[in-house]
C-alpha cells in the first residue's frame, strides 16, 4: 500500500516536472501566434477584469505598506534635498539669465523636432494593473490591449521618462518589458556631449542602468542627461522615438570608460511605483485617448 503511494507520488511529480519543462521549451520555440501563447492570452483576457477590480480595491492596503517605507526613506532624503535646494537656487539665477537665449534656440528646435511624440503616433493612457514579483522578469501588465490600439514594440513612457516597450498584447491587456528587464536594450544619446551607446539594465538593481558601447574618448560627466537616440539607418530603425528622457549619469569614471566603454545612470521614471503610463501607439484603436 505504502509502496503504491510512493510510486504514485513519484509518477505525479515526474509528470508535473516534465509538463513544466515541456511548456518552457515549447513556449520558447513557438512564435507569438502559437497555441500556448494563444491559451495564455485567453486566460489573461478572462482574468483582466478581475485584476482591474482587485487592483483598485487593494490600492489602499498597498499604499499603507508603501507609506511606512516612504517615511523611512524621507528621513534620509531630507538633508540631501536641502543641499539640492541650495544648488538649484544658484542654478535658477543662472538659468534665468540664459532663458532669453534658450527661448530663441527652443523656437529653432521646435521647427526641426516635434517633441518626444513623433507625428503619426497616438499616446494611449493605461493603468498598471500587474507587476512581476521577481527581479528577473521586470515586466508590468497594463489594462489596455490590442483593442485599444496597442501593438508589440510600442514605446511606453512614464511621468518622468522612458519606461519600456510593449512585448505582448491580448485584446484587453498588454505586457510591458521595462528598461530594467534582462532582455532590454535601448539606443541612447548623452546630452549635451552627443555620445551614443546602448542602455542596458543591471539585473536586480532597478536604480542602476548601464550605458554601454560608448565610443572611446567621449566626454561624459556625472549629472548629464541620457535620452533615446532613435536612430534610423535605411530600413533599420529604433522603435523608440528620439529625445525621450531615460535617466541621469551617476558614475562616469575615466577608468571604466577606457576599459569597458561604459558609464552608469539612474532612470528618471520611478518604475517600481508607477500607476499610469502612456503608450505611444502607431495604430489608433476604437477608444484610444
Amino acid at each position: 500500500m505504502y509502496r503504491k503511494q510512493v510510486r504514485r507520488r513519484r509518477a505525479v511529480l515526474l509528470l508535473l516536472v516534465a509538463a513544466s519543462l515541456t511548456l518552457l521549451s515549447v513556449y520558447y520555440r513557438e512564435g507569438n501566434a502559437g497555441p500556448l501563447h494563444g491559451a495564455e492570452n485567453v486566460v489573461s483576457t478572462v482574468f483582466a477584469p478581475i485584476q482591474d477590480v482587485s487592483n483598485r480595491a487593494l490600492k489602499p492596503a498597498r499604499d499603507l505598506v508603501n507609506w511606512f517605507h516612504e517615511t523611512f526613506d524621507a528621513r534620509g532624503d531630507k538633508a540631501k534635498l536641502e543641499d539640492q535646494v541650495a544648488t538649484l537656487r544658484d542654478q535658477l539665477a543662472r538659468e534665468q539669465t540664459q532663458q532669453q537665449e534658450t527661448k530663441e534656440l527652443s523656437a529653432l528646435n521646435e521647427l526641426t523636432s516635434g517633441g518626444i511624440v513623433p507625428n503619426g503616433t497616438t499616446p494611449v493612457t493605461a493603468r498598471v494593473v500587474g507587476r512581476s514579483p521577481t527581479v528577473w522578469y521586470s515586466t508590468v501588465t497594463l489594462d489596455k490591449g490590442s483593442s485599444d490600439g496597442l501593438r508589440v514594440d510600442d514605446p511606453v513612457v512614464a511621468a518622468q521618462g522612458l519606461a519600456g516597450k510593449v512585448t505582448q498584447t491580448t485584446p484587453n491587456t498588454a505586457q510591458v518589458t521595462l528598461i530594467t528587464d534582462a532582455d532590454s536594450a535601448v539606443t541612447a544619446r548623452v546630452t549635451p556631449s552627443g555620445a551614443t551607446g546602448v542602455v542596458e539594465p543591471n539585473v536586480g538593481n532597478p536604480n542602476d542602468l548601464q550605458l554601454d558601447f560608448l565610443e572611446r574618448g567621449a566626454q561624459i560627466a556625472q549629472g548629464q542627461m541620457v535620452v533615446t537616440a532613435g536612430f534610423s539607418t535605411g530600413d533599420l530603425g529604433s522603435i523608440f522615438p528620439p529625445g525621450i528622457p531615460i535617466g541621469k549619469i551617476t558614475t562616469a569614471t575615466v577608468e571604466e570608460q577606457q576599459a569597458y566603454q561604459r558609464v552608469h545612470l539612474s532612470p528618471f521614471a520611478d518604475l517600481r511605483n508607477m500607476d499610469f503610463v502612456k503608450v505611444l501607439t502607431t495604430h489608433s484603436g476604437s477608444n484610444s485617448k
Binding site: A61, Q175, A182, P201
Partner: protein, 184 residues
Amino acid sequence: MILTPGIIARLAVLGSIAAVAEVVCFSKMDVFGTSPDVVLLVVFSLGVLGGSLTGAVVGFSVGLLMDCLLLETLGGFALTLLSVGYVAGRYRETVGRPTRGAVALLGGSLTLLGALVIAAIQIGTGVEANVSFLVVRDALVKSVIGAGLAIPVLLLVRLVVRSALVDERRGAQRRPTAPRPVEP
C-alpha cells in the same frame, strides 16, 4: 488532506485569489526594497497541510495561472511553485507536523528556494545583461520576509481548508467534553 469536490473547489478559489492578489497588490508593495512573495507561502502552506502530492499539484496550477496573468514564459512559475509545494509536503511526510519555529524557518528557506529556481530558469534560458549582486540581497530579504509571514499565512490557509485536514478531525474527535455540573 481529504480531497472532496468541495475542497478542490475551495483550493482552486484560494489559489486564484492568491495569484491575482500577488500580481496586483503584493508585488507592488515596497518592503525593504523588495516585495513579499505571498503566493509562494500559500503553496508552501498547502504543501505542509496536504502533503507533497497536493503541494505539487496546487503549486503547478497556481504557477501556471501566474505565468498566464503576467504573460510570462509558460512553465517558469509553474516549475518554481511545484518545487516549493513538493518540498514542503515532503517535509511534513518525513519529519511530521512542523513546530512554529520550523514553519518560519521552512517558509524562509523555501522562499529562497523559489528565488533560486527562478534564477536558474533565467540563467538557463540565457541572460545577456549584467547581473547585480543586489539579486542576492533581494532573495535574502525576500526569504526573511517569507519567514516572518509564513505562520500567519499558514494559519489563514488552515482556516480555509480546515474541514479537510485529517489532524483537525482527529483532534475534534479526541477533544474531551466539558464535565456536567453535579446536581445537588
